[in-house]
Subunit: 460 residues, 2 copies
């Protein structure tokens, strides 16, 4: 299926860079073996005989990467929206996640989630499952079947859960994680494992140290939560009194990005393989060298990160998953995304279902712009609001680059594309292509998505 | 059509009071001559033979009142979202509104607006048109035809517009307004005029004084904008140096709610008729007495109102149209709605299209809750976030009461009802009726609306 050579014709929109977009009407984007061969206003001679699907004036844009969401929480999205993080976890989230011990419930719930994700604007996603290995593997099976490209994590949590939702011990959690990684070895083409310590309050030092070992051994990337909520941050300080700041509590165990091995406390030798064997296909940056501990890491939120923490995020190439809807719903605050962008950090967008209620990455773009305006107005007028172009970049290349060359139509990028029909967003006047895109950001729903390709595969 | 007697059966949800809701499954709401006869778990003997439409487990809720939106701006909703109020007006809004001088353009644009409004969650609305009389009357014709109940204002603006969008003089503006009110006299059953000075920067003192006279003469209510943006507020102070605060610049001309005639500067005698002849059917409060100047007034925004202004809003019964989406998009700020609710002010919700981009009043409810959380987190932890119940109340009775007994299913309320089918918001587990409603707040779109009644009329 990936061996195809074809072109889509339509109104093509993608990021030129972080601040500018390219809009090309009646143009072609060519896919060759799952990879973009470029965008052309006229098909070059070498492609003149390839199949062309003409989308008319529909928009063709790169797929979006949802850098942070919780599959089991999709079941109760949009409910229980009156709580802050820690209460929300204990009252709603933990009891609901405990249900995934029951595989038949998991099947029912994940079927809905995967079907809706497939029909959403997301082509790639980094997903938290639950601590349950069988349900996590089931979710991965379903995601593989969907055609999307995803990273999925069996969650680790050996403390501060509930009687129904907590692993027996650090050792048991680590053993189960190894078992999971063994179970799925070679099983998927485009579904990848990602280590997922829930967050510091859920994982003992012993478990974190085990995960550090597993990371080095299996070369899997890592995802977790960071500096989301004041109560959470204070709690981490209590639980890890020797950490200098929240992020340091991950870094102490080698779970916070890429750095010289000599600096890590995790007692492992350096590793010069790809970031992850399981992720060889995903294109995760592979510029390791002896003496470097490569741990591609996503940290969700970073709403209240200190200067020191931000510096370490930068120095160690940690990805920030900005989740504006969730940060609003759980009343966490508004992350200083303008600052992160200006510092050149890796910032992608996450829906954080079910802290966020919507799967729509267009909505995540809109929310990013909107909360940045409120932050500017209410908190700090030195940080200008985020523009449409910048938020679009975050949703495409910003998060996509965690998967490799993903999120653009430039030559060499993996071919993730969405076809958008916006005729139902009616207007009496002529409007520009940029206006059409801006309207989709604010006004689209799943009806506007009429085609989706991931790595060259036609998914819908 | 209004003489019908019938019942709808389903899962009925409405506000018990500002803080609590009533949820009744398998129950009946009875409509008698356009008015609610009550909600019953079993149909009383007297109604046992009336036609019953069984909606199964669909939700039946009162209609929503959109207390503030601009019909001509619907054409460019969701575009040009990078500007603050005054720049946005000059760069985008004024040139776009100028197009409504062309009646054929107006017809094209308003057809889309009215059709979308009809199929939205709105049953009642207070709408700004443009300064053009013919286009305003066309809009009113179309709205009447739609079956919705609306108040519509020909906009007044005789200064600080653009060459294409400004009336010739205060006198010309007043004359045109009188002509408009004469033109439509007796023309509509459920479409009402409302005086609409755009905002103080657009109206000279002379025009405001004329409008004060017209208000007294025609007994029409008034809508305008108040304390939305810092630049705007400073400008009003310059333009009206004798006003004590922004609201006072309306009050000086008798355009700011209800108060003893002796306190008004507008040189008119008191009036003891209903608030408006044109609005007799609308049920606007009619408790006038000699010596009282009744001017039912809606002021949109009130984001930055001073204590003095808030006190006058309270004392004179002015309605606040809270427009959270717009206040976010144009980076105005977040209004202290908790304070307004606690003070017992009249607060309804507005979409403020196209400062807001969405016509959905469910979204307005969600936005109200969301921004109240950010305000609590970022600005003032003494003002608790708004709850689902409170925001629902604002969208129904809060704004509806500007039209009279509107926004509830209690006996005596006008029969405005919406039938909601939420089966596409899938879930694997049992959920409560309140959860179903909360999900519609966050996740609904027009597909979820399968029936709508206004004043007993079946609209869709």
């Amino acid at each position: 299926m990936k061996k195809e050579l074809f072109a889509l014709k339509g109104t093509i929109c993608y990021s030129k860079n972080q601040r500018e977009m390219i809009f090309m009407e009646d143009s072609y984007v060519v896919c060759e073996n799952g990879v973009c061969a470029g965008v052309f206003s006229q098909l070059p001679e070498e492609y003149k005989d390839i199949p062309v699907e003409d989308m008319g004036n529909r928009l063709i844009i790169p797929g979006f990467t949802d850098l942070h969401l919780h599959a089991p929480q999709y079941a109760y999205r949009g409910t229980g929206m009156d709580l802050e993080l820690l209460d929300w976890l204990n009252t709603i989230t933990f009891p609901q996640e405990a249900r995934y011990a029951d595989l038949s419930y998991a099947k029912k719930a994940y079927s809905i989630f995967v079907d809706d994700l497939k029909h959403s604007f997301t082509t790639r996603a980094c997903i938290f499952a639950t601590l349950h290995r069988p349900a996590t593997e089931l979710l991965m099976d379903m995601l593989e079947e969907s055609g999307l490209a995803t990273m999925v994590g069996k969650v680790n949590m050996d403390r501060n859960g509930s009687p129904e939702l907590q692993e027996e011990s650090a050792k048991a959690s680590a053993a189960d994680t190894r078992q999971w990684l063994e179970d799925i070895k070679g099983r998927y083409d485009h579904t990848y494992p990602i280590l997922t310590p829930r967050f510091t309050p859920s994982c003992t030092d012993e478990l974190m140290a085990e995960l550090g070992k597993i990371q080095m051994e299996y070369h899997v990337p890592v995802q977790s939560h960071l500096s989301e909520n004041f109560g959470e941050i204070a709690w981490v300080k209590e639980l890890c009194p020797t950490s200098r700041f929240y992020g340091d509590a991950y870094d102490m165990f080698g779970l916070f990005g890429t750095k010289p091995a000599s600096n890590t406390n995790a007692a492992h030798t350096a590793n010069n393989s790809a970031a992850s064997t399981a992720n060889t296909d995903s294109g995760i940056s592979n510029d390791s060298a002896n003496g470097i501990n490569i741990c591609p890491t996503i940290m969700a939120h970073c709403v209240h990160s200190t200067d020191e923490e931000i510096q370490m995020i930068k120095d160690q190439g940690v990805y920030i998953a900005h989740c504006p809807e969730s940060n609003t719903d759980i009343a966490s605050g508004i992350a200083p995304v303008r600052r992160y962008l200006d510092m050149g950090l890796h910032v992608g967008l996450g829906t954080d279902v079910a802290g966020g209620f919507s799967l729509s990455m267009f909505r995540a773009i809109a929310d990013t712009i909107q909360v940045s305006k409120l932050r500017w107005r209410l908190m700090d007028q030195s940080l200008a609001p985020v523009t449409l172009e910048e938020a679009f970049y975050m949703a495409t290349i910003g998060g996509g680059s965690f998967f490799g060359k993903v999120g653009s139509f430039e030559k060499g990028y993996e071919f993730d594309a969405m076809i958008l029909d916006d005729h139902n967003i009616r207007h009496p006047q002529e409007i520009s292509t940029r206006d059409r895109l801006e309207r989709l950001v604010y006004l689209s729903d799943d009806r506007n998505l009429v085609g989706k390709y991931v790595q060259g595969r036609k998914v819908i």
